[in-house]
């Protein structure tokens, strides 16, 4: 008599464990989730619309605000799409720096995920440890761009500037300590029976369902699908790096956890390789239509001055047409669809935000779980509302 009666429970939008302003309407039978309906849009900022009114180079800072835990990945997606439309190729050094920084970004994003995920399940110390590491990466960000979070460091056709002196040593120092730290966190969690009890068999999703739902990134790989854009469609020279794609089997919270932990190791490995590859050279394409000439040149070359003026007055234009370019962001496949009408402003920009798609899988994952598990599952999806709502 009593058990057939269900109750509706509101979780969020102001709830500490929903990672932002997500609102879930849960239908419960006892404590078992029967239905879960996510409500989004509380953070809608109109980035896609905004980009239409910005010139190409100006649009980059807007993308920082999407996945604010991995701004450089967002920059990269846009920049690569534009470069694809323009058909330019970057110098070696620029590509290597991009790889290095996006992999650091991936580590940084995963660290925040690990910390909050662990905190949701009650392991509070891990949270603080993770933020300590994240601080180190933020310091590196600051060093290259002057900004800690919204760095907007990449440019169409290259980078905002070359690396500052001493940067490589700083990265090296970080990479030296990081594996041990990571092992420490794993020691706190991976084999911990409590942690396993809370995560194994929770929020399971099958391989076929995951594909049908368009899951990407660690969530998909935890189901055993070896899809990684870096490997499937290499960009920025990823084909030249050796790394593995960690896979899971069960597709539950624990596997997603393991996959991300392993990804951090792989990112560390790629970053190390990138550091070795770092040879001196230009960081921008030698195309004055895209990249403003160096300051001293302005005083000597008229041509340079014109280019400079043109660039800053109306920007550059992209040939009419459309491109789709996807990268492997920390959260999954981040695609950028760009339609150009030949003007200096994009006609239409659309981002395929991985969190948006991944969140769609949440109802399927939590149905049949307990309410307390919902938090664990959300944590394991690693969503960022800024990216979902754009």
């Amino acid at each position: 008599m009593t058990s057939t009666r269900t109750m509706t429970l509101n979780m969020g939008p102001q709830h500490p464990s929903t990672h932002g302003v997500l609102r879930l309407v849960l239908t419960l039978d006892g404590e078992v989730v029967v239905k879960c309906a996510p409500h989004i849009g509380y953070l809608h900022t109109g980035i896609e619309k905004g980009l239409e009114s910005k010139r190409y180079q100006q649009g980059i800072p807007l993308t920082d605000r999407m996945d604010y835990l991995a701004p450089l990945s967002n920059n990269l997606a846009l920049v690569l799409a534009i470069e694809k439309a323009l058909g330019v190729t970057l110098p070696e050094r620029a590509q290597t720096i991009r790889v290095l920084l996006t992999e650091l970004t991936r580590i940084k994003s995963h660290l925040v995920w690990l910390g909050t995920h662990a905190l949701d399940i009650g392991a509070m110390s891990v949270f603080l440890y993770c933020f300590r590491e994240r601080e180190a990466i933020l310091d590196l960000y600051e060093a290259v761009s002057g900004q800690r979070m919204m760095s907007s460091y990449f440019r169409v056709g290259g980078l905002a500037s070359d690396l500052p002196p001493g940067f490589e040593d700083a990265v090296k120092a970080f990479l030296r300590t990081f594996p041990d730290r990571l092992a420490e966190y794993e020691a706190l969690l991976t084999a911990n029976p409590l942690w396993r009890q809370r995560t194994i068999g929770i929020g399971t999703i099958k391989r076929e369902e995951a594909i049908a739902l368009g899951l990407s990134g660690p969530g998909l790989r935890a189901c055993g699908v070896a899809y990684d854009v870096r490997r499937a469609h290499p960009y920025s020279g990823y084909e030249r790096y050796s790394f593995e794609i960690p896979l899971g089997k069960a597709g539950d919270v624990y596997d997603r956890y393991l996959v991300r932990m392993a990804e951090m190791r792989q990112s560390h490995r790629i970053a190390g390789q990138a550091l070795e590859r770092l040879t001196p050279g230009p960081v921008n394409v030698a195309d004055p239509k895209l990249i403003p000439p160096p300051k001293p040149l302005l005083k000597r070359s008229m041509e340079a001055l014109i280019h400079h003026f043109k660039l800053y007055a109306e920007g550059f234009s992209v040939p009419a047409g459309e491109v789709y370019h996807a990268i492997e962001a920390p959260k999954g496949e981040l695609g950028c669809y760009l339609v150009s009408d030949g003007s200096p402003r994009p006609y239409r920009v659309h981002f395929r935000a991985p969190s948006f798609v991944n969140l769609q899988a949440l109802p399927k994952m939590v149905e049949g779980c307990l309410v307390a598990d919902v938090v664990a599952v959300i944590g394991s999806l690693d969503i960022v509302l800024g990216e979902i709502d754009r």
Binding site: K49, E209, L213, G214, A232, G335, Y337, F356, Q360
Partner: protein, 126 residues
């Protein structure tokens, strides 16, 4: 729909992964009619191939939904509906997704009044 199903199930094509669905308002482009273009980005995990599928409709015309083929299309199509006002026929749950339920207009249309201040919406009903 049949095309979609074929694209997914044919072993030589096997576009089992729907990356993305989005829309373009072609109002200010050449060939502006039909006005809207719904773009499907397909991907084949097996063959590592991408495919872009486009459907063009005019104002008020509906696009058949592909949620039956790729479940993930659900939210994507809602987003297109929300931001462009393109309805999808047979969609299980066609509601606004990003904008509040009582929002007026579709922001990503090219004729959406960006400068005008929007009518502030009511407190969301409990």
């Amino acid at each position: 729909m049949r095309v979609c199903r074929f694209l997914r199930d044919d072993p030589d094509l096997a576009f089992d992964f729907l990356s993305d669905v989005t829309g373009v308002d072609r109002l200010k482009l050449p060939q502006a009619s039909p006005r809207f273009e719904v773009v499907y980005n397909l991907y084949s995990l097996q063959h590592r191939r991408r495919l872009r599928l486009k459907v063009r409709v005019d104002e008020g015309e509906a696009v058949p939904t592909v949620t039956g083929v790729w479940e993930t299309a659900n939210w994507h199509e809602r987003e297109v509906y929300d931001l462009f006002g393109v309805p999808f026929e047979g969609h299980p749950d066609l509601r606004r997704i990003l904008m509040p339920d009582d929002w007026e207009g579709h922001p990503l249309r090219k004729d959406y009044p960006v400068e005008a201040s929007p009518r502030w919406w009511e407190e969301e009903p409990a």
